[in-house]
Symmetry: C3
Subunit: 196 residues, 3 copies
């Protein structure tokens, strides 16, 4: 295993698909990025995360896990997809510490998933807020919905009567994004200076 580990956590899956990572993204050296993963511009990927695309479908190909421009993937996040399915994380979306996303999943742009939220086989439209520790399975959540901390959504029938996000919550989200952008830029500069 020496050959692999010397390349760090960015590595191919067993079919030989390598991650494609935009040069403006920052990936922490302890992150594990495996296989057909596409990471867009200005993305931040924190410590001890796993983003893994390696289960081929019936056609023998692995569908991609895509993290679009300007999204944040905080410490301990895990993103994976079932065979023949994909995950798309829209732009400017935040996956807080300990979030798990298991495909098939589509997360729209501007979503905010708080600490340890879990999403499986679901669609979140735009600017959805998922509270701490909430679980969402087999459902489509409309844009701007606020799912409170600890909520368990087991099917599409459970998505109802949730309120929209407030101006205060949007303000908080903006603060988190600004701070995360500063981290991304700071670490990129820091690592770049050290490697010279």
């Amino acid at each position: 295993m020496d050959t692999m580990s010397s390349q760090g956590g960015i590595r191919p899956n067993f079919l030989g698909d390598w991650p494609k990572i935009d040069s403006t993204a920052f990936v922490d050296p302890s992150a594990q990025i495996l296989g057909n993963v596409h990471i867009g511009a200005d993305v931040y990927v924190g410590p001890l995360t796993v983003i893994r695309a390696d289960e081929p479908g019936p056609d023998g190909k692995v569908h991609p896990v895509i993290i679009e421009d300007g999204s944040y993937v905080q410490d301990g996040v895990i993103v994976h997809a079932r065979e023949g399915t994909s995950v798309r994380i829209g732009s400017s979306t935040n996956l807080a510490h300990g979030v798990i996303i298991h495909g098939p999943c589509t997360i729209g742009q501007g979503c905010f998933l708080a600490l340890r939220a879990t999403v499986y086989n679901s669609i979140l439209e735009e600017a959805v807020w998922v509270g701490i520790g909430a679980i969402i399975m087999r459902a489509t959540v409309p844009s701007h919905t606020m799912i409170p901390a600890g909520t368990v959504i087991r099917s599409k029938y459970d998505v109802r009567y949730y309120r929209l996000t407030t101006a205060k919550e949007m303000e908080y989200q903006k603060d988190v994004f600004r701070a995360s952008a500063a981290l991304r830029d700071g670490y990129k500069k820091f690592f770049s200076a050290r490697s010279k």
Copy 2:
């Protein structure tokens, strides 16, 4: 720490017990396997997992953490045991991403623990299904029980009235197992080819 870290994540506990890993198992290079851990044939152990057996009992010995043949330990899983206790994961059992098992625990064969399930000081008999984010403490769960996502079982008195798994759920489980077996075989072949 150089000596240790150069050996990767498979390492002894402080009493000098080394993991015993069957040559047909696949262990991701970022997994941390410490101490008196026994990993059987055809087991898959994913990225950033911890399987740790290092707390000696009154007799000064560390009881084993055993992962039996053909089981799957997905990304971010943590398995540990209290002093003088052990964990046994039966054959053909799946621990999905982010599961925590804390011994003393016995998990029977053919169980399916979904994303982020937590089991502490409990017995799961055979083919038990534990839904996403469910918590099971100090209980014995009968064979073929289906514990829904987000359930909290705080003691043996909470284990009642749960339905059995359906044929559809068993079919899904079979799909996951087939996909995980393909990963295990694919990665074993891939790493073996690279190390030549």
Copy 3:
């Protein structure tokens, strides 16, 4: 990234703040300790943890994450703080496997956070017990309170009517502390012997 990864997981944040770790503490080689983190005497930090202090406040400075003497940080724990805020974990406190603490937070001495508890923007006074998977947000929890497994506290109005910890629970906690101290001492001795 070669320069960084060769130094292991104990590393500066992008502003150049290095962790300060007491020589009597034990930090597992796979732990990621970043930035303005202070780790006191006799602390144990387990595998694949992240303790990270790197978001500067308006004054350009990163406030510290402090783990006081004799505390235990088990596998997979994540501790982080929002910009310009800090986290203080009091002495002789246990953060069990998979706990997340997100600052601003103050955790008093002698607290016991069980598996996968999540605390955000809160104060726990002394000897608080937080059960498995419980979530505490924006609240102050009085000393000796016992928050049961799976509880969701979304604001200060949810903290009421919880009972105090029992003598049996305190006894259990003492057992866990004794076992964790043995691990810390054992690993310190073990690594020190190997590095000679």
